[in-house]
Symmetry: D2
Subunit: 355 residues, 4 copies
């Protein structure tokens, strides 16, 4: 556990925000899978910072160097390792926080856990930058899922109190701000820019849908799809909640309403509604897997905040001057897709053992 | 994964609703821990069915027999196995569903996964009855946590649209219907009884709080407390969502509001608010760990439902006549506490390795 | 780890020699596998004590009770748990050793590890009796391997200085003393009876061969067949060495002799010799998997031995009066077969993920 | 499993002989451990090729680049990743073997397993070169063990039929050919050079001793020290056997001889002999942990060998012209030490959880 995950697939993510490099190792991908590096590149670009006024000006190519595991464009069965060199880092930005933990960040908890030996710079191993290797793994796996007929879609479901109503039915990742309603998206962007100007930040919700997952994927109890997906999705910094299908709403419903009636459609079992989010007893029922992840607002804000000085045990004030996203949600979409894809692919591998 | 969980602690849950026995094996509890069987018994009683008009009339002693691992009242270091014999089962109740999967249940997904070889009777391995061994493990571990100064509290936060406002600050497990507000509790019970009379069911939300967890517990990324707790809590049938601290609400907040300011109190670092639910970067910050789990309504309802006949591929209607809880939430409290305790104790064991 | 093993298959063994029961849980067996309980019974009988003058007079039916996981003779996909009740135990035999650890046993190391809380009686969790649940798991899995065309053979290769020369080419498990040469077997039995009369014991070597394992099973590095098999075989008490193919002998050979030349036979790649024991780079090459396991002599001997008294830190003498096998090797054959079968079946499940 | 190992410590080894880089990630090392890079360098040099007439002329600096996990010379708690760039590779040497698997190598088994997509060049992921990252991990961990008072010693116990008699009692790693008897060492070297001239190779045995391991380390059954050490040691290519203490010899002994009598020495429990190799019931007894690993002769020999052509299913001859060690054993010492150190350190971390 910790920086590794997976039952059949083993993903290890390594690196700190300002260490020489960050990267990932992915073990368990069958040999002979063709890798489309252009598709991967396009996928990673969706997460990359510095692309619009909405995100941090830190510019990173985020171009992964593959060290092993892929030969002539095909996986060779050996572990796949890719790294991204860290450049354009400004560690001095963080010197001021050495003894004054930033509220909402892992500074204080890392200090306690690692007894002061943690890498503080840029948040160290806790930095959102570590989602770049997550997206390398996810980008590769999404390609493999596509070959099995599985698509991974996502959208910004809400920013603050602004909701993207309507249903997500197709891939809208080509949009620079992926909401179903462009009008809602425009209001969200205005809100984010407004908060940026005020030095504040805001949270939001990402919705993710996996279509084409065959029925029978997942395991009972602790190996259910909810368990597996939440285990990877909470690996993304700032996620504080997750719900499947109707989720928290289903807690308010009657059984007669929440139960999804079965029916045959083109000789295939479907459900008339999908309050279960495509998962019954931890196992896929053939309907789309639907879940939402709640992101807290970026903890790095420019406003003056109250904290403590850990060296002299006094109260302290803090103003963070670094470059930060006023809202992490737009860049989080490929991260959520990656986490879901990793979990589902691992469950797919488990399914093969039952054949 | 699947019916086993844990990194340092290994918990395996086995059995089907109507197999000769159900049970659990717990590996990794240090030797020399004193076990209070009376306290365990009292804990298990909170989950046991047949205690009030609110729950299924199936009566079960749920008295575990310990087969090994405990000697003269102390753990001996060997794996602990306890079983509960299944009695008072009425398998014939389920014969009718053989080819007609019950909506909201794992009948259909188990059929696909196990190709018809699954134990259908009483839901088989997917039955809520399997939470009894979960509570044996949880009940033991809650005793161990108490010795470390950690308490596990819970309450019914909502049933349908009725909310238990006010804050949970003390153990209210002595209440037969554990809400902070007895008035809210009375309204919830009335709603449940009303729905029972109508043959319907309703969902709800459980809030769980762990106090006394020292700062520094948990690991980065996939080993965070959110990951760990969600991985076990989703092992409870019917859970469809989980949120930590302000959770989904934090997605609507500004960073300046959501960030929990640090302060010193009696020489100890605390936060003025606890929107993070006591977890930053996956690691405890010393404040109470707070989370909520959403339970869908019991899928077994007496009302007529639409389903399919898997043998002849036609539409089919279904009426379920068995004995079922109109709302599983009241009995789910010790299950949620157990799942959380197991996750936290496992993280505590991980912490010891860093010493 | 510890009392659990397996990557895809999860085997947990629980119990102490004199606890109410011992048993095992096996998770990961696909649903729909037919179980032959008579064959299992016959297999377990090979390990059972009290069958001849060679072994301990403790009589045990060793008849497993299956608590779950098998329905109408077929695996149902849920974890399989079976237990054996402990009866005919004479704990008082062990009272004398409470503070005087028996040489060659785990008494002293368990005392240090569990700080005196271990179950001393009959060796507790370290007892050879725990190989009974190992053989339940092994017996089930050997049936599954047979369906894949894989047979598991074994023989007593040596007892003390007496060797069973000749090659093991067929199943000789029907023999009460399974050696290829009955004459060698007779001499071994005479030696054992002689040592029994003298209150002494002797070790030996078991050879195990798995035929029909297809090429391509196993993984590089830490997941090789040697790693996997040794990991389970050393789980049998008293095993102190293992070698594959020519093993230690190959350390004395020239490369030109040790290398197994490839050839085609009936359109299939074979090797002219099998010094590698059917494993190259951790992966099966289609030739028989061959390994030998060295068993130390039973540490329980009737002769007076030198030890210490842990309570008063003095030297102490010890005479063990209990009932013990003068040579464990004959009864160890099904244990070795089980350990090998478990490892190979787990590797077979891994192989399916690559399809 | 596979290219990852460890229960508390997670080691992942990645790379192929001729991929851009090879490397390792080590997760689970507590924060705040001081790393001595000079000591690591000296350790790695013992494994490096091209140092004497005995080994392959392929020259490699084998200088690891640390990408993360170490800050200002101290571990920071995040995963440690180090890589070694592959240079000085001559892939064309291997083109000839594309369809003609080299006897004794993983060529054929990899072909079957990876369906032709494996990286053949230099043996790919199966190359002995992958022991370099193993030694990075081992070199780091040996430093940590030293702080706990644990030393890891090794020697060449035999090459072919030449034995290094006498006992290993001190660190002889400073010797260029580490045998206790320099005379025996000289004869071994002469044998190796003679075989090199003949284009042949030879195997040998490495003995490894860990002193200072406290009693109580290790777990019962599948988590015993024998299981753990063999699981990592068989990760070194060419190892075909392992034995602990008297090992295979103990199979020939009487119990009265093999049992190690306990005694008090300076208030500490010791054993008069150490036939158990310091391990009873899988757990350390405080005596030195002693084991031997058998290495088969290097399969790459210059002599003409018999093989098959996998493309046209015919017999084929093979002459290997690359640069290879006529005997891998001298360079294998730090690999064996590393594997043992990794296993023991992991068991030490497990032990901490019992406190």
């Amino acid at each position: 556990m910790s920086s590794s995950t997976g039952e059949n697939l083993k993903l290890t993510i390594f690196g700190q925000s300002h260490s020489p490099a960050i990267g990932m190792t992915l073990e368990g991908i069958p040999a002979g899978q063709r890798i489309d590096f252009d598709a991967l590149s396009a996928f990673l670009k969706r997460r990359a910072p510095g692309q619009s006024a909405l995100s941090t000006p830190r510019k990173e190519a985020d171009a992964p160097e593959f060290l092993c595991g892929i030969l002539n464009g095909y996986t060779c069965g050996a572990p796949i390792t890719a790294i991204i060199r860290n450049t354009n880092t400004r560690s001095s930005d963080y010197e001021a926080f050495k003894n004054v933990p930033r509220p909402g960040h892992a500074d204080y908890t890392a200090q306690v856990k690692y007894n002061g030996f943690q890498d503080r710079s840029g948040g160290g191993h806790f930095s959102g930058r570590l989602t770049a290797p997550l997206c390398i793994a996810g980008g590769l796996i999404i390609q493999l899922l596509k070959l099995e007929g599985i698509s991974v879609l996502s959208r910004i479901r809400s920013i603050g109190d602004i909701y993207d109503e309507g249903e997500l039915t197709e891939d809208i990742s080509y949009k620079s701000f992926p909401t179903v309603s462009d009008e809602a998206g425009a209001r969200m962007q205005a809100l984010i820019l407004d908060l940026k100007a005020k030095g504040d930040s805001v949270g939001g919700v990402v919705e993710c849908i996996l279509t084409g997952v065959p029925a029978g994927i997942g395991d009972p109890m602790f190996g259910g799809l909810e368990n597996r997906i939440s285990q990877t999705v909470f690996g993304i910094p700032a996620v504080k909640g997750i719900e499947f299908g109707a989720g928290f709403e289903s807690a308010r419903l009657l059984g007669s309403v929440n139960n999804d009636p079965f029916a045959y459609e083109d000789g295939r079992v479907v459900t008339a509604t999908n309050n279960s989010g495509g998962i019954l007893g931890g196992i896929s029922d053939g309907m789309p897997i639907v879940f939402k992840a709640a992101f807290k607002p970026t903890p790095s804000i420019a406003l003056r905040q109250q904290s403590v000085n850990l060296s002299d045990h006094t109260a302290a004030c803090l103003e963070i001057s670094g470059r930060h996203d006023p809202c992490i949600v737009p860049r989080a979409l490929p991260c959520v897709e990656s986490a879901a894809a990793i979990a589902i692919y691992d469950a797919l591998l488990s399914r093969r053992k039952e054949a």
